[in-house]
C-alpha cells in the first residue's frame, strides 16, 4: 500500500485463555478453552488519514485498538509506527518516544478522567509524564489545549463532574492531544453521547485532524458515523477482517455478504416504514467458532466449501474481501 503509511498492523492476532480454573477442569473433565478475539488482522494507515474498524459487539474492535496503542500484547503479528516495532523497541528511550506519539480516547469519558483532579491537572498529566514542558509553560499549554477543543481556559479550575458528557469527551480529547501525538485510537468516542452533541465532537475531531495532521484509528459500531469519519474502513466479524475498502466503495458496492447485511440492517432516518430484510441468527459463540468461514451459518450464499475452508482476503479494486462467493464470482 502507500509509501507514507504511519501505522502498519501485520497479521495481528490475540487469543484469550478463558478456561475454567484448574480444579473445575479436572472435576468436570473439561478442556482448556481459548477465545480468538483477533485473527490475522492487517491494515495500513497513511499519515493524516482515518482508518475505521466497524463490527458488532464482540467482533474484536477494542482488542485490536488496545494492541495498536500498546496497551495489550498480541499473541501473534506486530504493529509498526513509522517503521518502528511497537512491541520490540530498540531500547527504553525509543519505547517512551513511541508511546508519546500514540494516544487513545475511550467511549466513556467518566472512566478515563480522574474525578478528584482538576481538569487542568488531568490535561497536564501527559505533559509531565513525558517531560515535555516545565513550570508555568505547562499550565499555559493546558489552557491552550482547552481552548483548542472548544472549552474556556477557566474551565481548567473545575472538576470533571461539573461538565456534561460532551464536554467531558472534549476534556478527554484535550488530554489525548497534550503529548502532541501523531496517531490517536478513538474507541467509540461518541457512542455515549446524544446526536446533537455527537456532531459537535465528530466535527471537532475532523478539524483537529486537519489542523494537526493527525492519523486516526476510529472504532465504532455505527455505520453512519464511520462513513462520516473514515477514509478507509475495515469490517470485522468474529475477530477477522471480512472486507477492507475505501469509504465510498464500501457503501456503494459492498462485496462481502456480512457487510451487505450490516449496511442493510442499520436503521435509516430516511427509510420510513421499512422492514429490513430478515437476517437470520445471531453472532455465534466465539469460543466454539463455526468451521470454515465463520459467517457460514448466517450466510445466504454459503455452500459446502464455506463450511470447511476458511476464506482469505483477496484483492479487488480499492478493496480486499474474504469470501469464497466473491472469489467464485457468485455474489451478485
Amino acid at each position: 500500500m502507500s509509501e507514507n503509511s504511519l501505522i502498519k498492523a501485520s497479521d495481528l492476532g490475540r487469543v484469550f485463555d478463558v478456561s475454567k480454573p484448574w480444579l473445575n477442569r479436572v472435576l468436570e473433565g473439561s478442556e482448556k478453552q481459548f477465545l480468538t478475539a483477533a485473527d490475522k488482522v492487517h491494515f495500513d494507515i497513511p499519515k493524516g488519514k482515518t482508518f475505521a474498524l466497524v463490527g458488532e459487539s464482540g467482533s474484536g474492535k477494542s482488542t485490536i485498538g488496545k494492541m495498536v496503542v500498546g496497551l495489550l500484547n498480541p499473541t501473534s503479528g506486530n504493529v509498526t509506527v513509522d517503521g518502528e516495532d511497537l512491541f520490540n523497541p530498540k531500547d527504553k528511550k525509543a519505547q517512551l518516544a513511541l508511546r508519546r506519539r500514540i494516544q487513545m480516547i475511550f467511549q466513556s469519558p467518566y472512566a478515563s478522567l480522574n474525578p478528584r483532579w482538576r481538569v487542568k491537572n488531568i490535561i497536564a498529566e501527559p505533559i509531565k509524564a513525558f517531560n515535555l514542558l516545565e513550570g508555568k509553560a505547562i499550565q499555559t499549554r493546558a489552557s491552550e489545549l482547552l481552548e483548542q477543543v472548544g472549552l474556556a481556559a477557566t474551565d481548567g479550575e473545575k472538576y470533571p463532574h461539573e461538565f456534561s458528557g460532551g464536554q467531558r469527551q472534549r476534556i478527554a480529547i484535550a488530554r489525548a492531544l497534550a503529548s502532541n501525538p501523531e496517531f490517536i485510537v478513538c474507541d467509540e468516542p461518541t457512542s455515549a453521547l446524544d446526536v446533537s452533541v455527537q456532531s459537535q465532537v465528530l466535527n471537532l475531531m475532523k478539524d483537529l485532524q486537519k489542523d494537526l495532521g493527525l492519523t486516526y484509528l476510529f472504532i465504532s459500531h455505527d455505520l453512519s458515523v464511520v462513513r462520516f469519519m473514515a477514509d478507509q474502513i475495515g469490517v470485522l466479524y468474529l475477530g477477522r477482517l471480512v472486507e477492507i475498502a475505501d469509504r465510498d466503495k464500501l457503501f456503494e458496492a459492498p462485496q462481502h455478504p456480512y457487510t451487505r447485511m450490516l449496511i442493510d440492517a442499520a436503521p435509516r432516518v430516511d427509510a420510513f416504514g421499512r422492514t429490513a430484510d430478515a437476517v437470520v441468527g445471531e453472532i455465534p459463540d466465539p469460543i466454539n467458532m463455526p468451521s470454515g468461514c465463520s459467517f457460514h451459518p448466517r450466510c445466504p450464499l454459503a455452500n459446502d466449501r464455506c463450511k470447511t475452508e476458511p476464506p482469505s482476503l483477496i484483492k479487488l479494486d480499492r478493496a480486499e474481501v474474504s469470501c469464497h462467493a466473491v472469489e467464485e464470482n457468485r455474489n451478485n
Binding site: S196, S199, H221, S224, F228, P267, I283
Partner: protein
Amino acid sequence: MSEEIVLTVEDLIVEFPTRKGILRPVDRVNFNIKKGEILGVVGESGAGKSMCGSAIVGLIDRPGRITGGEIRLQNERIDNISHERMRKIRGRRIGMVFQDPLTSLNPLMTVGEQIMETIRVHLKISEAEARQRAIAALEEVGIPAASSRVDAYPHQFSGGMRQRVVIALALAAEPELIIADEPTTALDVSVQAQIMALLKKLCHERGTAVMLITHDMGVIAETTDRVAVLYAGRLAEIGPTKDVLSNPSHPYTIGLMASTPSPTGSTERLSQIPGSMPNLRAIPQGCAFNQRCTKAISACFKHLPILEPVDKTDVACWLYDEAYKDEAAEQSKTQLKEGA
C-alpha cells in the same frame, strides 16, 4: 387504521421535591395512541422519555409523583388509582419491554412457567392448554425449537433471544398497550432489525397500541407511525413520523435531524446544535431550548410556548405564532445579513 384511542396523556406533570427545590422531569406533556398505532417518543438522554413511560404504569420512583394532568386507558383514568388496581393493569392491560430483558424475567423460573403464569391470570384455561399457548407464543416470536426451549431458564438464552421472550411475555395477556423503553439499545444491529420487525408485525396484526421510547432516529423512521419529540421534559413537536422527520418545524427537531449522520449525507461536516440540553435545575424561563436556539425572539425568553398545529405537525414554538410573525421575519433577515 382504527381511530379508537387507547391511551390519552393530558397535561401530564411529574415532579420530584428536593431540598433545593422542585424538579419537573415531565412538564405538561400531551399525546394519545390509537389502536394498532406505534407512537415513537424520542429525545436526548434526560429528556424525560422513560419518566413518561413510568408515569403511565405508575412506577415513578419516590419521592417523585404525578402532580398534574390525567392519564386514561380506554377512557378510564389510571393516574389516580390504587397501587393494587394499577398492579392488575400492569402486565395484563399494559405490557412492558425494557432495554435489559433480565429486568422483566424471573431468573428462577423457566420462560414457559413465566408465560403460562401470565396467560392463566388472564384466561381461565388448564395448565396443559396454557403450556401449548406458551409454546405457540415462543414460536410466534421466532424462538427455534420452542417446544423444548419452553423449559429453559432465561440465562440459557442469548441477549436477542431473551428480548424475544420478553416480547412474548408482554404480549401473552393480550394487552391493549405495550410500552417499550429502548428495547433494542443493548442489541447488535442485525438483532435489532429482527426485534423491531417482530414488534411491528405483532402489534399491527393484533391492533396493540405501542409507545416506543428510543433515541435512535433511524428506528423511529422505520418503526413508528407518529413521533413525539421531547426536550427537557416538554413536547417540542408531535406528528406523523414522516412529516416530523423529513419536514420538521421546531428548531430543535430541525437541528436534531440535521446533526444525525446519515448513510447518504455529507462527509465534510455535520450540522451541529450549540451547547447541550440543560439539566432540570437549570431550565431557562420561557422556551427550554432558548439558550441553544439560533432563531430565538424576545417572547422565547419570557413565555412558555404551547403546542399549535403548523403544517402537518403540532409544534411548541413562538416563531409560528401570529403575534410574533413580524419579529421572527425580521430576525431571520438580520441573520441572513450577518451570514453573508
